[in-house]
């Protein structure tokens, strides 16, 4: 069995008196697609925020180990450093750079993998020109992969919703992650778009050889893509296992269908 690339040990997150996450234990293995599911308000997005440095968890540890690298404790680390380490995310409520072009959005993603500074920008020396050309090429390729290349020079805010979601994925991939965190990527998509997205997620794993942690409400998508599923309810991890195990777990059924139906 391969090493976990992400190991989360008992993290909790309190907001004032409210405990949004309660001792969550979760791991993602190399090359795996793991899903995090649960009703609205269960704490899934909060979990993402905790492991990407946007919030600092109240207690617990977040350990990452890029392939071949040593495990590193990252709680409390700044979000940009987490990204630099190789965890990239998308946002549930799309956060693109609205008045920059689609291509520029992706180019921003390469920021932590490029180096040129003020001097390079002003003199446009050879290293800078080369780096810029590489950035452009890489970004175009990512847009091609997402089927967005014809929109390259449009402003991101003018894209339709489903395409904005795909652009967010392209931007996250541009940071060169080993673990991609997707927060409800299919939200607001129609069934065809969701189908295409499912293929895309599987394709991304193959092509980039990365692991994916996915928050999703669409059960068909979760069941057909994920290797393992973690279920949150009221900030607690109530079950985890293969999709099949989880879908037969009484606690999960109860959480999803409500008390009445179960009884």
């Amino acid at each position: 069995m391969s090493n976990p690339v992400l190991q989360v040990n008992d993290i909790s997150m309190d907001f004032g008196g409210i405990r949004a996450l309660d001792e969550i234990q979760l791991d993602v293995r190399q090359g795996e697609i793991a899903a995090l599911i649960g009703p609205n308000g269960a704490g899934k997005t909060t979990f993402f925020n905790c492991i990407t440095g946007i919030y600092t968890p109240t207690t617990g540890d977040v350990l990452v180990s890029p392939e071949g690298g040593a495990a590193k404790r990252i709680n409390g680390m700044k979000p940009n450093l987490v990204t630099e380490l190789g965890m990239a995310r998308t946002f549930q409520n799309i956060r693109l750079f609205p008045s920059m072009t689609v291509l520029e959005n992706v180019m921003i993603g390469t920021h932590c993998r490029t180096r040129s500074g003020l001097w390079g920008a002003v003199t446009r020396n050879r290293a800078t020109r080369k780096e810029e050309a590489d950035t452009i090429e890489k970004s175009f390729h990512l847009l091609e992969l997402m089927n967005l290349e014809q929109y390259s020079n449009e402003l991101a805010c003018n894209l339709p919703y489903g395409k904005q979601r795909r652009l967010e994925i392209a931007r996250a991939l541009a940071t060169g992650p080993f673990l991609l965190l997707l927060d409800e990527p299919a939200a607001g998509m129609n069934p065809q778009e969701t189908m295409a997205l499912k293929e895309l997620v599987l394709d991304i794993r193959e092509r980039f050889n990365i692991s994916i942690l996915l928050i999703e409400h669409d059960m068909k998508m979760v069941m057909s893509t994920s290797d393992r599923v973690f279920v949150l309810e009221y900030g607690r991890l109530i079950a985890h296992g293969t999709p099949k195990e989880v879908s037969e777990n009484p606690a999960v059924i109860k959480a999803y269908l409500g008390e009445d139906e179960d009884v």
Binding site: F15, G16, T45, N49, I54, Y55, F91
Partner: protein
């Protein structure tokens, strides 16, 4: 000791005025998260309205107490009207715009109002009649506490208590608190957010007007520029207390007033404003949520 007490009461008077203005900043910020940069100008317009009304009534031979009442009432009405109008013109069309847009609009409004008053009236200092009556019993505190100090401090306390009761017990007050907490939810349960925002501007502006007339009468002169510095200091007071918090604004005003009074009294009067601004910078750096404010984690 006497000097200390003199400084203390001087600081209290000053702080009371800051508190009255700070309440407007804090209430507006609590509800629409905007630093209403033009609020200092509302205070200035209050003072000018008071001066004009007092001038007209004085020329008509009204008695002093009637002049005081009319001047304050007119100042309150006009400041409230200006506050209401400014919100409609400069802020309401910008709801939902980028965060800095209303702030820039507010700065523009502030510049506009200053120059409007300067051009329509004068750029010189105008003497302001002393409208506040001499109180007999204050004589015992000669050299420490003047009549107008006493009146200002007491008025501020009364106004603050009234405001607190209003916010706590009236329907409108409850709607205001609900809107401050969560605008969308408030709207869903039937609060008319537009009305609440308008009322907030009206109340905040009225308080500033009261402060404007009182302090102008106490100091004895005004010009079109007084709102800028007073506004900045009142904003400092609001932040000091924890912006969005009403008791915080009062506390912040008093703390700032006292700090200034003692700093100028014991250190140097040249740097009076430097102390205030330095205090502002330091608070924002070390405790941006203020004395009474709560730390908030931005929701992502």
């Amino acid at each position: 000791m006497e000097y200390f007490l003199e400084l203390f009461f001087g600081g209290l008077t000053r702080g009371s005025i800051y508190a009255l203005i700070a309440l407007g900043y804090t209430m507006v910020y609590g509800i629409i998260e905007l630093i209403n940069f033009a609020h200092g100008e509302i205070y200035m317009i209050g003072a000018f309205t008071g001066l004009i009304v007092a001038g007209v009534l004085g020329a008509l031979g009204f008695p002093g107490s009637a002049i005081l009442v009319f001047a304050i009432v007119a100042a309150v009405i006009y400041s409230a009207a200006y506050g209401f109008t400014i919100e409609k013109i400069a802020y309401r069309p910008l709801r939902g715009a980028a965060r800095l847009s209303p702030l820039i609009s507010a700065i523009g409004m502030s510049i506009f109002l200053q120059n409007y008053v300067m051009l329509a009236q004068t750029s010189d200092f105008l003497p302001f009649p002393s409208l506040l009556p001499e109180l007999g019993f204050v004589k015992h505190f000669k050299g420490i506490l003047g009549s107008s100090d006493f009146i200002i401090i007491v008025t501020t306390i009364v106004v603050c208590v009234a405001l607190t009761l209003f916010i706590k017990y009236t329907k409108m007050g409850k709607a205001m608190r609900a809107t401050a907490q969560n605008r969308t939810m408030a709207q869903l349960v039937g609060v008319s957010v537009d009305t609440v925002i308008s009322v907030t501007f009206i109340i905040g502006s009225s308080l500033a007007a009261v402060g404007g007339v009182l302090i102008a009468s106490h100091i004895g002169q005004i010009n079109y520029y007084i709102g800028f510095i007073a506004g900045l200091k009142a904003f400092t007071a609001a932040v000091l207390g924890g912006i969005g918090s009403i008791p915080g604004a009062m506390l912040g005003g008093l703390v700032l007033g006292l700090t200034e009074a003692f700093a100028t009294g014991y250190v140097s009067s040249d740097y009076e404003d430097v102390f205030a601004f330095a205090l502002l910078v330091l608070i924002l750096i070390f405790r941006p949520s203020g004395i009474m404010g709560k730390e908030k984690i931005q929701k992502v």
